[in-house]
């Protein structure tokens, strides 16, 4: 292997430092024994203990998780269908308009989306709550899913679907037993994307939330306004940990599959 040049080493170090120093600082201070966030007072895990007995945070975490799972699932179903129709539906009347409308929330400022949803929900529901948060999150998450799914469908060999029809499968049967299994990895990443988007959304949720539907980002944001407590550092560290484990697991599985496939193809060729 060639020895990397000093220039490469420096830029790599600076790049990673820029990305990860804030997180490392946060993780370090989550183990701080003192009450003051910026003054180091010895190693301790006491804030993790405090966190586990803080009902308000735990409730918010539970709400967020339920909202994210519901959002991801709803957005995946709707986004996959939208992506499928936009790619496979042929040239029907108003296709371009539909495509534009489906992708518009991607570029729409969150504040405007949140405000417009708030106005709509005010006329539809008597009070705001978890339902409205889920609906709002689904609205913007589904277009991300449809982008992911439709880009997968565009590289999909159309004749595989034709073969299914040729062998007697109806359109729905073809989608269920051929298209969906093949694009499933894309659908799954769409789900994960929607889940993450819902998990860390603050702006839209704060417009449409109501009593009993305080999500974790809202809770953290309002707590921080009263001063950063070491408990929040502990909570953030846990979240970083969960995301890291998820990402690593996902990429290891993915890598193994690709390697296995390459081996198989080599054997077969």
């Amino acid at each position: 292997m060639k020895k990397p040049s000093w220039f490469n080493i420096t830029s790599l170090t600076l790049g990673f430092a820029f990305l990860y120093i804030p997180m490392l600082v946060l993780i370090a201070y989550s183990f701080n024994g003192g009450r003051l966030v910026t003054v180091w007072a010895g190693f301790s895990t006491k804030w993790y203990g405090e966190l586990l007995s803080n009902e308000a945070f735990l409730d918010a975490a539970w709400v967020t998780l339920r909202v994210a799972v519901a959002t991801a699932t709803l957005a995946t179903v709707l986004g996959t269908l939208a992506g499928y129709v936009l790619v496979r539906g042929g040239r029907f009347m108003g296709r371009t308009l539909f495509a534009g409308m489906a992708y518009a929330p991607l570029v729409m400022p969150d504040v405007i989306l949140g405000l417009s949803l708030l106005l709509l929900f005010k006329t539809m529901f008597s009070s705001m709550g978890m339902t409205t948060v889920i609906l709002a999150h689904t609205t913007f998450a589904m277009c991300y899913v449809s982008v992911v799914v439709s880009s997968r469908l565009m590289s999909f060999d159309r004749s595989i679907e034709e073969a299914a029809a040729d062998l007697g499968a109806t359109a729905f049967d073809t989608f269920k037993s051929v298209t969906l299994p093949i694009i499933f990895p894309a659908v799954l990443s769409g789900w994960l994307l929607a889940f993450t988007l819902s998990l860390d959304d603050l702006v839209i949720a704060s417009f449409v939330t109501g009593p009993g539907a305080t999500t974790l980002p809202i809770k953290i944001f309002s707590a921080v306004r009263l001063g950063v407590s070491p408990e929040i550092n502990a909570l953030s560290t846990i979240m970083i940990g969960i995301v890291t484990i998820g990402v690593i697991t996902f990429s290891v599985i993915n890598k193994r599959q690709i390697a296995q496939r390459l081996r198989d193809e080599k054997m077969a060729g």
Partner: protein, 382 residues
């Protein structure tokens, strides 16, 4: 690989297209297909008979694939009718037609095993569940894929994928099997073997095959009849021998194999035609059954292997022309000679190298005589 020998009966007896009482399996009646302004298939009428191995041959964009996709049901004709066993199938969707297709890309389902790929169509037919296993096993045996039943498509080789695609499309015992460039992705050696396998399977199952190809050798090898297409029209439909020996136009003669085309004016006496192609040289003597008038401008087509190259003119041939060897292409078993006539035409002739190369008694720049019989070539008016 065993060399194929078609049963003599298949060649001599099997010719339903010559029998006016035979009922065609497929009838295209004045079928036109337009994509916007582009006419892919132009007012086409053709009958295809049961048990035929029918090849659609032509350059890309000639409409052969569109024709096949209309049979499968993926495209609908703009005008005209397509009849299968006497019934119009235009309104029938692809999943309800007794027609199966083998795709150029094979289109195997990547998430299903070989076994499940073959069973896919059977599970969606009215076949009882307990018979599906037997049928799949039969198909695996037919294509010699028994050992690979549990593999996924990416775990087998290209040639094996091709056989799975064939097995899958034959599993439902369709009345008609469509093959879209089935051997396009295979290398030449495997391709030749597979061609004979295809013919073998077609004879065993008795299915009618329609194959789309741009490879004329492939069409000639496998087909009972070949349709040469160009710009949405069928230029000629005939047996491989008919297409090769008696092309009806310069286009067909030129598209299939190598040919020398010599233009000239005809002078007719009975069925004998003389083609005057240059001043001060003997005309080419030929016979024809086409109505040709005196003085008509015609093209004379003769295949290189019908022309003999020698030091002296061969007395038993009707045509003799003198020329100079300009080029020799040595291919091992045969050599192609490019001979320039004094009148300017370049004629190619193909000779079998029955002697060792050292014994050849003429070479570049030598004067030679070209000889061929009066029935060797054809006179074309189109």
């Amino acid at each position: 690989m065993a060399q194929p020998t078609r049963p003599a009966s298949a060649q001599t007896v099997f010719a339903p297209w010559t029998d006016p009482t035979a009922q065609p399996l497929i009838q295209f009646k004045n079928v036109t297909k337009q994509f916007g302004d582009f006419t892919a298939v132009d007012d086409l009428t053709i009958n295809i008979y049961e048990r035929e191995f029918f090849a659609l041959l032509g350059p890309s964009g000639c409409g052969k694939t569109t024709l096949m996709r209309m049979l499968a049901g993926f495209e609908n004709p703009t005008h005209g009718e397509i009849l299968l066993g006497g019934k119009n199938i235009v309104p029938v969707p692809p999943n309800q037609r007794p027609v199966n297709m083998m795709f150029q890309s094979y289109a195997l389902f990547p998430h299903l095993s070989v076994w499940e790929n073959i069973a896919f169509g059977l599970k969606r037919s009215d076949m009882p569940k307990d018979q599906i296993g037997d049928r799949v096993a039969e198909m695996l045996r037919l294509t010699r894929m028994e050992k690979f039943a549990k593999r996924k498509p990416h775990q087998i080789s290209g040639g094996q994928r091709q056989r799975v695609a064939l097995a899958r499309s034959l599993a439902k015992a369709p009345k008609l099997l469509l093959l879209d460039e089935p051997l396009g992705a295979l290398d030449k050696k495997l391709r030749n073997d597979t061609q004979f396998e295809l013919m073998d399977i077609q004879e065993k199952t008795g299915t009618t095959f329609v194959i789309v190809t741009h490879d004329q050798e492939e069409a000639m090898t496998v087909a009972s009849r070949v349709a040469v297409m160009d710009a949405g029209k069928m230029i000629q439909v005939d047996t491989p021998a008919g297409i090769y020996e008696a092309p009806n136009s310069v286009y067909v003669a030129d598209f299939i194999g190598d040919v020398n085309i010599i233009e000239g004016n005809a002078s007719v006496s009975g069925e004998k035609v003389d083609v005057h192609f240059a001043e001060g040289v003997d005309p080419i003597h030929a016979v024809t059954d086409k109505p040709i008038t005196d003085g008509q401008r015609v093209s004379y087509a003769v295949r290189p292997e019908k022309i003999s190259v020698d030091r002296e003119p061969l007395a038993d041939r009707a045509n003799h022309v003198k020329g100079k060897v300009e080029d020799i292409g040595y291919l091992g078993n045969v050599s192609t000679y490019h001979v320039r006539l004094p009148s300017g035409q370049l004629v190619s002739a193909l000779m079998t190298n029955s002697r060792r190369l050292a014994r050849r008694d003429f070479t570049w720049e030598d004067e030679v005589w070209l000889s061929w019989t009066d029935t060797a070539g054809v006179v074309l008016t189109e």
